[in-house]
């Protein structure tokens, strides 16, 4: 074999061709109940998937048991419901957890879910050293973008540090947290914001660990080595690839310079990816398949910054939950890329590229400035509490939407080349999407009440009391949580115990002072109608933007709040996780002209019903409009209930939405 060949091909020590091992193939999955999810996992593993990525339902993520009133509309919808150890026994039935790499996408209740996993392992006699996986546990991105936080920032950070301390000594292969910038991009983050906010978050975690001073310096190095990242890859794949290279280089620098990590392997930027879902379109959804492929290239092409694990959304995710077939299709894309192409046979193909080098340098420089800004403020926790990071994201998102609205940003099938033939993929009897059987929640509730009846009530009570006391005393909560798991405590009971001690957090909404960058004819039409309304009624139109239920994806609500203000409305927006009762109370007390609901979790029918019941209580006839991922098949039922207008991701034009809303309220009777 010639030396020349060795330069551009990957070879082993004998000069034989030796391609890289592929990344871990995952699908983010879970739905209905523990039993159905267990079947799904076992099927996926048999199809060549190499790791588990568990999606939990919203009540589990927010720390409510399935029998809590706010849980009812959400059980099993966006993930699997887990109430107690019994559900984990069912979920991992016939799955050897000692051989799995299990990723749990859970944040506010991550300590609880890890405790359940530990309790399950101990019950099965699996040594904890063999457990391998990740709990996401990134609360900062929850405050910023996804909304499944429970406790205030400082207490949440304390819980994270508890987990690092416990894991390093007991489950050394576990990643206690995973810095997740994925949702930041979903919420509109630019590559620089994704880089800087994620790294600032990692710095906040490491600083908190340093402050606890619970590790020797060797242990601290190992601890740095356990930090992993979960990122997003968007459609501008060259820039995204450069972002990944910048991430790797910056992490190397931070761990070396700020934390003095000497061992090279602990400075490696280890990351998993789910590619962008925000950019997927409801219009011509088949185009999403190509977007997903291109986004996957951004994180796999570059050997020096290749992802460790990848999960891809399904082509139809902008419509509703994907079917098993759709997930299989996404998995096959990864397998084609890794095994059919020659991608893994080469060293880094971009080494020496001036373009790539220049772009990486530029991204790094900007991100460094931004990180410094956050550190000067007092770090990521302060930048959460004072609303800085949130308002920056809302700003980027409004800019992005303004560009889509003005066609400056082309989205094929959405604002350009919108005419097309309807996709044959959508014509199956199920309409191309998956719906959770509403009756399936019964099974979950059955297990829950059976467990509560069976457990030793005294042991359960004692374990909860000890957890609370430990929290008050500032002790490490892991052992107490594991004891709760073994005592068959429920998710809601665990979270409530800590709510009692820490309180519940309500972060800034980030919408104050935001501006849209739109000033076309549509804007002046809407503003004209708003002025006419103001003249006729003597005051500005008032809208309550409500984000009910446990779904914390607040981008839609924020954009509507900002657009309504841009149009001249007085806007009442109080953030996420409100009950229909709270939203109606606001609308009544403020005498709003219209209520706008934003619901993405699929619970729109249940929530709309609760809302109209509450309006009836006050004898208030306030028009209601709704926006979210709502299948057309539900439109008629919603309209029958009294919903005046329904907006879906297809209605991306903010001013057309505002135009419809002002038209609705303009025909309402005026004041006497």
């Amino acid at each position: 074999m010639s030396a020349e060949k060795k330069d551009y091909l990957l070879v082993d020590e004998n000069g034989q061709g030796k391609p890289d091992k592929p990344w871990i193939f995952r699908t983010y999955a879970g739905h209905t109940n523990a039993k159905a999810s267990n079947e799904l996992y076992r099927k996926n593993l048999s199809k060549g998937q190499t790791g588990l990525s568990i999606a939990f339902d919203l009540p589990t993520q927010c720390g409510y048991s399935s029998d809590h009133e706010v849980s009812r509309p959400e059980i099993g919808k966006v993930g699997v419901p887990i109430n107690s150890l019994e559900d984990f026994r069912i979920l991992f039935d016939q799955i050897p957890i000692e051989e799995m790499n299990t990723s749990m996408t859970i944040n506010g209740t991550s300590m609880w879910l890890l405790s359940l996993y530990v309790a399950l392992a101990e019950e099965r006699g699996v040594p904890l050293e063999k457990l391998n996986g990740t709990t996401q546990n990134d609360l900062i991105k929850e405050y910023l973008a996804r909304g499944t936080y429970i406790y205030p920032p400082k207490d949440s950070m304390k819980i994270i540090v508890d987990m690092y301390e416990y894991c390093l000594h007991n489950i050394p292969k576990w990643n206690p947290s995973n810095i997740c910038s994925y949702h930041l991009q979903e919420a509109g983050a630019t590559p620089v914001q994704e880089l800087s906010f994620a790294l600032a978050t990692a710095i906040a975690v490491l600083d908190a660990i340093k402050e606890r001073n619970c590790f020797t310096s060797e242990e601290f190095e190992q601890c740095v080595g356990r930090i992993s990242f979960f990122v997003n890859a968007g459609i501008r794949f060259v820039e995204e690839m450069c972002k990944m290279r910048a991430f790797s280089e910056m992490w190397e620098e931070i761990t070396k310079d700020r934390y003095g990590v000497k061992t090279a392997k602990y400075r490696v930027f280890r990351y998993g990816v789910q590619v962008n879902s925000l950019g997927l379109t409801e219009e011509q959804p088949e185009n999403n398949a190509w977007r997903i492929l291109i986004e996957a290239l951004g994180v796999t092409l570059s050997r020096n910054a290749r992802c460790r694990a990848l999960q891809l959304p399904a082509w139809n995710e902008a419509l509703s939950l994907p079917r098993p077939w759709d997930q299989q299709w996404s998995l096959r894309l990864q397998q084609v890329l890794a095994y059919e192409t020659d991608l893994l046979e080469y060293p880094d193909i971009f080494e020496g590229s001036k373009v790539i080098e220049g772009k990486v340098k530029a991204l790094k420089e900007e991100a460094k400035l931004e990180i410094q800004k956050i550190l000067d403020m007092g770090g990521a926790l302060v930048a959460i509490e004072n609303g800085y990071m949130k308002s920056q994201l809302v700003k980027s998102q409004t800019e992005r939407l303004s560009k889509i609205n003005s066609n400056e940003l082309v989205i094929v099938g959405k604002n350009k080349w919108t005419d097309g033939i309807k996709s044959p993929l959508m014509t199956d009897s199920d309409g191309g999407i998956f719906k959770v059987d509403p009756k399936s929640a019964e099974q979950t509730l059955g297990v829950l009440s059976e467990v509560k009846g069976r457990r030793n009530a005294e042991v359960a009570k004692k374990s909860l009391e000890e957890l609370k006391q430990a929290a008050r005393d500032g002790k490490n909560l892991m052992p107490y949580s594991i004891a709760c798991a073994k005592a068959l405590i429920t998710t809601g009971e665990w979270a409530d115990a800590l709510r009692e001690v820490y309180g519940e957090y309500n972060p800034p909404t980030g919408v104050d002072g935001q501006k849209l960058f739109l000033s076309d004819d549509k804007v002046s039409t809407v503003r004209g109608k708003v002025e006419a309304f103001t003249k006729a009624h003597g005051h500005r139109p008032k809208i309550v933007v409500g984000k009910p239920g446990l779904d914390g994806h607040s981008n839609g609500a924020e954009m509507i709040a900002v657009s309504a203000k841009h149009s001249g409305f007085d806007v009442i927006y109080s953030g996420i996780r409100l009950s229909p009762e709270e939203i109606v109370q606001s609308a009544v007390e403020e005498n709003a002209n219209v209520i706008g609901l934003s619901i993405l979790s699929g619970s729109h029918k249940e929530i709309a019903k609760q809302l109209f019941d509450e309006l009836a209580h006050y004898k208030a006839k306030i028009p209601v409009v709704i926006g979210g991922i709502i299948p057309e098949s539900d439109f008629e039922e919603l309209k029958k209930m009294g919903i005046r207008e329904i907006f879906t991701p297809k209605d991306y034009d903010l001013m057309s939405i505002m135009n419809k809303i002002i038209d609705i309220i303009s025909v309402e009777p005026a004041l006497v």
Binding site: P508, Q514, R540, K565, E581, E589, N591, V672
Partner: protein
């Protein structure tokens, strides 16, 4: 919205019972331009339906953005429900955000979690209408209306400088909320604002030593002012922390037992003059002064039974308006 099937008398009787939607509708109507006729009939209706209607204590809460006023109010509400079981409170939160479109985002409800369907607490947001944190032109009338229904009416405003003064004009007690070591003390002293509030709150006192040092700093600043105004006793200073749930009970108890009321006639005259100044400038003030100096006008204020006759704002406004119309047409 008030629909045409409802009469004012129905709305008022429901509102006086504390029903939220009628209260909300009336406030919207007060917040409407050219509302003199409506106000007149509204207060007349209230007077005839319930001559002894309440006259709630008005509490102004103001301070720089970020001083934690809304969270503090949220905690006050929570405690109020436990500590004052027979009393009712209303909050008017004035939000400074507004922009070219004239629209606004009113986000202060965010920090106040209110119990559901409880008629003992009522929360209303108000855009400041470009007056950057100060009162909006309708605030005074909304507060006058709410006083008839609620035992306590809180007004929350944002700002530093002259805005505190306008809040203190309509409140019986006004609090200035500060953060520990915010450097606010010096700023406030410079702007001459320290004399205005009746009481001070150092909020976010999460840490004992920082709280105490701020407390003593503020105290000595106030003592310095006291030297200038020798008759004035030192105003109380509260140290509060929402996260540690400290000092808020004391604050609430102070409010619940606050004995003094400000002179409502003085309040009426000040508000009227402020309105005249906004609407008609110095020209208007001149006419007002002429009207005030009219000896008949002075005499009419004195009740036949002795003492001062309570001024009716709308009546005074109408008198002034007709006077100014005469001036213009003559």
């Amino acid at each position: 919205m008030i629909d045409s099937t409802e009469t004012l008398s129905q709305l008022v009787s429901q509102a006086l019972l504390g029903e939220k939607f009628p209260i909300a509708k009336i406030i919207s109507k007060i917040e409407t331009e050219n509302n003199l006729d409506f106000r007149e009939s509204l207060f007349h209706e209230i007077q005839s339906q319930k001559p002894n209607a309440k006259d709630g204590l008005t509490i102004g809460i103001t301070g720089t953005p970020g001083a934690g006023k809304s969270s503090l109010l949220g905690e006050l509400c929570r405690l109020f429900l436990n500590f004052a079981p027979d009393k009712k409170m209303a909050i008017v939160a004035i939000d400074p955000s507004s922009n070219v479109s004239g629209g606004s985002i009113l986000g202060d409800r965010t920090r106040v979690t209110l119990p559901r369907r409880d008629t003992r607490i009522y929360f209303r947001s108000q855009p400041s209408q470009l007056e950057l944190g100060g009162l909006n032109p309708y605030t005074y009338h909304v507060i006058r209306f709410l006083r008839k229904i609620f035992d306590y009416v809180f007004i929350e405003t944002v700002g530093i400088g002259q805005n505190e003064i306008s809040v203190s004009l309509v409140s019986d007690i006004s609090f200035l909320v500060m953060q520990p070591l915010g450097g606010d003390q010096v700023q406030f002293m410079k702007s001459g604002i320290m004399e205005v509030p009746e009481a001070f709150i150092i909020n976010k006192c999460d840490e004992e030593s920082l709280a105490n040092s701020s407390y003593y700093m503020l105290q000595s600043t106030l003592e310095f002012i006291k030297d200038i105004l020798p008759d004035q006793s030192l105003p109380p200073i509260f140290k509060t922390s929402v996260t540690k749930r400290k000092g808020i009970e004391e604050l609430l108890s102070y409010i619940l037992h606050y004995p003094k009321r400000k002179d409502k006639n003085a309040e009426t005259i000040t508000q009227l003059m402020q309105w005249i100044r906004n609407e008609y400038g110095r020209f208007g003030i001149g006419i007002w002064e002429k009207m005030e100096s009219n000896s008949w006008n002075k005499a009419v204020r004195l009740s036949p039974l002795g003492g001062i006759h309570k001024l009716n704002y709308e009546e005074e406004e109408r008198k002034f308006v007709s006077l100014i119309q005469k001036q213009i047409t003559s």
